[in-house]
Symmetry: D2
Subunit: 329 residues, 4 copies
């Protein structure tokens, strides 16, 4: 049984708490959150203790940390956990600054601890099946990849302001997904954007609609389409076109009951947001982390994966400004 | 170029008029209808003449008749056309009385003319594709056939009164379809019904919802589900289950544009009724009749097919009354 | 925390074991199975003890029993558990003999314990959503119900011999589903069948393909279509036609990735069998049983529901033999 | 009855020949083609005469021309027909050179004749329905448009060489579609491409896979995805995302019969290519041209529309070379 220190009791912290508790080999030992009441409540629910960062990291019985705190605390916590010899699961991103990510990863490397970065979609059964079919040769050689990712509704402008912008906050998942599916690293990035959904997002200095084109060494192009609002739930689709056809991962609907009436044949909307859509992915992600803890496998999504996704997101920012394709080294 | 005498200018007469005129080898020479104004209008539209029955049948230049008049005139017109040596296309049914059908077919046989009975669904591209796939062995040996046929909305009670009842008027198409797809004749019939849609149909002595079960010599069962109202357009589906899987012919939608919104993902309804749904079938049916006229093929749907469908419909009536399975010779 | 005695370590016993252990308010205290090795293994896995029937039922710390043993032991175990004052969850059926079911239920009633009969499909999120939409008036008044239920592949003849026959073993779920969705009890039953899938099933005295028609007091007809083999996974569908349209619960596919190729556009098959298809239903069923244990709700599926499903299955047997509609009191 | 001179007897000329002949108000009077045998054959089939360009244009009885000849003859024929006072239907493009298009349109304007440019997709019932729903406010204000257009298989390199390149030959339809649906003209164009399908296309100096991003004055972005090969038929889809949801026009399948088997649930492929997919569009296009001839409406797709589509295609070429967004005046 591995003892886990859980940093952060917000929405995503609670998701991981459920999965840590449900896994036969892990339990929550410590809960750490500046919001004391929330920490107490979560700790009580799972028979854990509320601790400070220092207490948790110096507790010898704690094997690993699960970092779900605010983004600007991730790099520090990773470094301190690494230095304390703990295995680390950290929600994406490591940091919004590339240099900070790089210095952080150096610390992790020196410490020699395991680090799994939480790009949840890599564990989604649909996308995983798509990749497995691709790897098995179902559509031959890859030619074009199209990733659609639309949130159900826009975030509040206050969130936008600290989010790092749509590319680092939202598209980063799709940039990672492109690398995950194709198994190569892009050589160039072009990004386009507009503020169509909510003027307040524009006032906060960001865009809410984006189209990204990546070129890969093999010649494959990846086309990412993002919006902060779909108007019909969480739209998460992948199309991979190859020399022998297409693989297409569709949305997961809220249910499978259709209602045919005098007006139309209505099916249910896609599941509303990431908590529902990626519920299974979060479970499988945690199972993978436990496999890492048990030494069975290496992390499928490393610090370098986190770094490279940020490199791509930064290149999107640059391309959007320059109206040019940005070449990557 | 074959000259055609068209009997009947109603809804279905107009459908055939368009197809006769559009076919490069046929043209409308005569239009016959007790409703004079309608006949004049249709004749003018296609450069044809209004004629009496006698005039049309004694006109040597007329090669064939297309009978789309009221049901109770079919058998008489078939006999007179046969005696006049004309090839005959007649809308289903030949008659609502089995003995009348049989005496009529004797006349046709004596006359030695070609007779094609209009079971339009046999020419539907969807059902035809299903049968071709079945014949090619796609699902192995047949096990169960499920036919769903629901009208968009109930007919007026006045129509119900002269229709011969749901089995002879509506189910007869599905009874023929079962024979067409499976290529065998049933050995027993069980019919169930209820009046759920419109009490006026019950008052007219009929039911509006029916479930029929047919047994075939090979052991296959066919399950027919009928309703005078779907509430969502014309519901026309066939499922054929075999030893190696299922073939499933679905509805044809009004269009293929989906509308995804905050409420649901809406697709268009099935095409509203038989004029839209079987538009292509009527065209192909006429092409087949022309092939018959040209001596290229024998009629795919003969007088005997019309007779057997009525035998099955009559057995449904008997089974509904007796609450028993009716054995067929 | 409720202590549960689990009777039976087979396939379905293992399903419930997982769910009992995963529920925060229940744990497995005792495992009972004549197959000692299996009992030991399961008990070890969940920290439970292997007990005899007597030991388990006389153990005061045990609050409830979960009966997953062979069908012919159900009624006895229910009676003994009732007399021992335990709350009872029992997999369907209570017994294959109606009189035995009735005597058993008398014992339960005298004992005054709670009994939940395991018709798992009542908890399926798809069928539940369909019923909720129907109850909310989405399609108006019910007119026809069509239930399709096809197993992926036929059971071995040895199983068929002790199964009670297709109606009591398989159709019983659909008969219960019809009552569950429509909220009324049928007034008549007609059943049709054939042995199409496997001659060995016929030699074992059973059929493998069935079509059932039920009439309800409101006039609604329910049409159940069963087969012991689909050839494409577990086919579980419900269509409810009403005065304002249709509700249609479709199959759950193995995954949502489509493969479009030069041959066709391929989607995944329906989930293979009940363990996958009703995984969530089994979880929700157990949650419901815990709610019953906690006194929050009454059982949604009582002994009487189990009895009535068997009455209907028996009527199917009778109708199949007599080729007549069987009236129910 | 309008007399039509048909220039060009190739694949697309034959499509229009059928439609001209089937329309009650038009007939083919003259057929013009340097390939004499083809002209004779087509003329015989429709009771028309083979003529030279001069003969046809000086024939007073000819009301209009239908230009389906080789692309490099379009502009000349348009000018000569305009000068002869004929109404003009011309297949896209007017010419591959923008200056030639402009000089040609000046001649047309001076002559004051009607000119309809053949962007067939504007008449497709699916895309038309999508635009009508959009215009009716179904999804509110437009935000993003995604157009997918993939040919079934790549053209021969010899065709590629004279085609003007993928943007002027293939994407031009999608560029026009974007303008048609959104009702505005783009302000910038970015184009990306690769040669993935067939190296011979690269050797012919072209690409075979393209991603285009257009920005419109309202802020809307249009994302066009092209490939010379789908591997599964003609992939023609449009998604319009707006402030209140999405409209999605899907592919038209070869038929609607599904085949469910032990491997998968297979549906038919999209219709194979433009002749099948846009059969109805070509008919409706010709009906529109006849309405123009009859003075009922103005051409829905003018010379200026043809010119603007070429401007956009030229901008794609420039953007692909410069790796920059090209601003339009």
């Amino acid at each position: 049984m591995f003892n886990i220190a859980l940093f952060g009791c917000g929405r995503i912290g609670k998701v991981h708490a459920v999965n840590i508790a449900a896994h036969p080999s892990t339990q929550i030992k410590a809960v750490i959150d500046p919001y004391h009441e929330g920490a107490v409540q979560l700790a009580n629910q799972y028979g854990a203790q509320v601790m400070s960062v220092d207490e948790a990291l110096s507790d010898k019985s704690i094997d690993a940390v699960c970092i779900c705190s605010a983004t600007d605390t991730h790099a520090d916590l990773i470094e301190r956990a690494a230095q304390a010899g703990k295995a680390i699961f950290c929600e994406k991103p490591i940091d919004l600054s590339l240099s900070r990510v790089q210095s952080c990863l150096e610390v992790v490397e020196k410490a020699g601890v395991k680090l799994l970065v939480g790009f949840n979609r890599r564990y989604d059964p649909q996308f995983r099946t798509l990749r497995e079919l691709f790897d098995s040769g179902a559509v031959g050689r890859a030619e074009t990849l199209v990733i659609t990712s639309r949130d159900p509704s826009p975030p509040p402008p206050d969130y936008v302001r600290v989010s790092g912008g749509i590319f680092r906050d939202m598209s980063i998942h799709d940039l990672d997904m492109a690398r995950y599916i194709l198994g190569e690293d892009p050589i160039s990035v072009s990004a386009h954007g507009a503020c169509m959904v909510d003027p307040a997002i524009g006032e906060a200095g960001d865009i809410d609609s984006a189209v990204i084109v990546l070129h890969f060494p093999s010649g494959v192009m990846a086309n990412i389409i993002n919006s902060r609002r779909s108007g019909y739930g969480y739209d998460q689709r992948v199309e991979l076109h190859g020399s022998k056809g297409m693989l297409k991962a569709g949305n997961v609907r809220e249910h499978l009951v259709e209602h045919w009436s005098d007006e139309h044949c209505a099916a249910a909307k896609p599941q509303n947001f990431f908590l529902e859509r990626y519920r299974e992915a979060y479970i499988d992600e945690w199972h993978h982390f436990v496999d890492v803890l048990e030494g069975k496998v290496e992390p499928q999504c490393t610090g370098v994966d986190g770094e490279l996704a940020l490199v791509l997101a930064d290149a999107c920012v640059e391309s959007l400004k320059s109206h040019q394709t940005v070449l990557l080294k």
